[in-house]
Amino acid sequence: MDGSQDALVASLRAENQELIRRLASQDSAQQYRSDSTVPQAGLAWEGCGLTGSQVARYSRQLVLPSFGPQAQARLCKGSVLVIGAGGLGSPAVLYLAAGGVGRVGIVDTDALELSNLHRQIAHQEVSVGKHKAASAAVSCRALNSSIQVIAHEQGLLPGNALDLVSAYDVVLDCSDNAPTRYLASDACCIAAKPLVSGAALGMDGQLTTLCVAPAGPCYRCLYPQAPALASCRRCAEAGVLGVAPGIIGTLQALEAIKLLTGVGQPLTSRLLLLDCLSTGFRTIKLRHRQPACIACGPHATITASNLASYDYRAFTGQPFNDAAPPSISLIPAAQRLSVQDLASRMQPASTRPSNQLQPNQQPAAFSRPHVAEPEASNDSMIPISRLPSADFCASGCVAAETVPIGHQQANSCNPLPEGDEGQGAKGFDSASQPSGGVQSSAGPLLLDVRPKEQFAAAHLPGFVNVPYQGPHKPLPAFLLELCHPSQSVNQAPGVSSVLPSLSASEPDARIQNLELGLSQTPKPSDQCEAAGEILVVCRRGNDSQEVVQQLRSLGITGAMDIIGGLTAWSQSVDPSFPIY
C-alpha cells in the first residue's frame, strides 16, 4: 500500500470513529436528555427541584448524607468556567459534567497535539489537530447530554476575561502559562468569583482556591512579582507525568463542587502541594488578602474599566500560551551550519570529496549509513556499523552514551540520580569508548546538548550527549577534559581539578592540547588539526548557539551551531526523526 492509500485509510478510519461517536452521543441524548419526568404540582411525587432523570443519574451522590439532593440541586443549577482544556482541565471538565454541573464553559484556544494525549484525557485521537475546547466539549456532552457545555475557542484574553468569568459561578484556572494565571485572577477579583487555581509540572502539583470573599487572597497577593521566564518551565521542556495534572485537575473539580454546593471547606488561604514521587500531600497555610494588592485590595488599580488594556505580556514577559520559545540568533551566521551541511559533514570521510562542502551537495543518506570495517584502524571513524541500522537511534540504543555536564560538583544541579554522575566521563576515559561520536581527527566531533532523556529517546548516530544546563552552570567537564587529555586520562570521574583551569589565564596552551580523538594516548601532532570542527546540535537550535558561544569563548574556534537543531533535521533531512 502506498503512502496516499495509507493516508486515505487513516482519514476514513478517523471519520468513521467520529461518526460512531456522534451517533452514540445522539442516541444517549434522546435517551437521557428528556426532562419529561419533572414532578408536576399536585401529581404523583415531589422533590427538591431535581427531575426524575436527574434523581436517577445522580443517585449515588444525592443519597450521600454529607451531600444530598439539595447539594445536587445547587450543582445542577450552577455553572463553572474551566480555563484550559489540557492536563488539568481534562479531568476537571469530565467530573463537572459527570457530576451534573448545569453549565460548563471550556476556554482554550489551542489545537490538540498527539503529545497532549498522555494526560489530556478529555480528548480522543480523532481530535488531534482540532480545537481543544470543542474536543473537550464533545467528550463532556457524550458523558452527560443533560447539561449545557459551551466551548470558548477564542481563549481567555484581557478583552473578554471579565465577560467570561462574570457569566459563571466558579472559575477554574487550568491554564499552562503565567499571563493567563494573572489575568484569570484579576478578572475574578473584579467579578468577585471564586477561582480554583491548579498547576502541575514534572512530578509536582499545586492547588489553592483564590479570591473567596471576604479574606481569601488572590494570585497577586501570593505572587505580586511575576516569575522569571526561566522559572516558567513548559511541559514540553520539563516534562510532566500524566497523572500529576490529573490528580490536581480532579481536585479542582472537587473544589468547584464544594464552592457551588456549600459542602465542606474550600481550600481558601491554603496551598496544597502534591509530590508524585513520594505520593505525598502537604498543606501550607497562606496569608490572607493583602490590603496593598493592586487587584483585590481596597485601592486596587486593576479595575473593570482598565483590565482589557492591562499588558500581561509585558508584566510576565511571556505570551498567553506555552508555545515553544522563539528561535534566537545569538551567534554570527559564519558560526552556524544548516542541517544539510550537517548531513554532508556526517558522510563518511572516504566518500567525502573535501572538507569544504559544495552548496548543492547531497546530504548523507542516513538510511544507508557508511559501513566501516570492524577492524578499522585507530585513525578511522568508530564503525557506524556498530550502530543500529535505523536512521536514528531510539531508546535503548547502544550509542546512548551520556556525558553529564557539571558532574564535577557533587551537589550540582544536575538532575541525574545519584551514582549516575560521572559515569559518562568514566566511559570516555576508559578503553571502551562510547560507540557514538568518537572519531578520528579527520571528522568533526558531534555533540548533542539536549537533556539525556531526550537524547536517549532519539538521536543521530555518531553524536555524543553532553547535556547543556544553562549559561550559569559550570561548563561541560567533558569538553574541558578535551582540552586536558593528558590530565583527564586515567583520572577518576567527577574530577574537580579540571574546572578551575577553565577560567585560568592560558587558554591558548590548552587549545594546543585539544585532542578530539579521545584515544587513551594523546597524539600531540594531531591536536591542532583535530581542533577543526565541533558540531553542536540541540532540539531547536537555541541551546546549541549558547554552547558554541561558550566553546568559542574558550578559544575552541571550530565550534559550529546546527541551525534549527533536530527539529530542522526532521523537517528538512529526515522526516522519520521524531519531533516532540
Binding site: 488539568l88 487550568c174 498547576a199 502541575a200 514534572g202 509536582d204 499545586q206 516569575p227
Partner: protein, 82 residues
Amino acid sequence: MRVRLLFFARARELAGVGETEVEVASHATAAVVLKQVLETWPALEEVSGRCVLAVNQEYLEDMARILKEGDEVAVLPPVSGG
C-alpha cells in the same frame, strides 16, 4: 542551631536538592537564614522574591521572625504548567 529546608518545584531544580538541613546562628531571623540560603545556592536568586515562603507550613509574613532549632523553612515558587 539547625533548620530544615524544603525546596519545591523550580527551587528544587535550582538548588539540586529537595530537602536538607543547614546550620545557622542561634536566634537567626528568617531574613538571615534566607540570605545564607542564597549564598549557598546562588541559583535560587532566580526565584528570590517570587516565591511563597513558609515556616512550619505557615506563610512567612515577617522576615524579622526569629527561627528556632528544627524549624522547617519551605521555598515554594509558583508552578504555571497545566
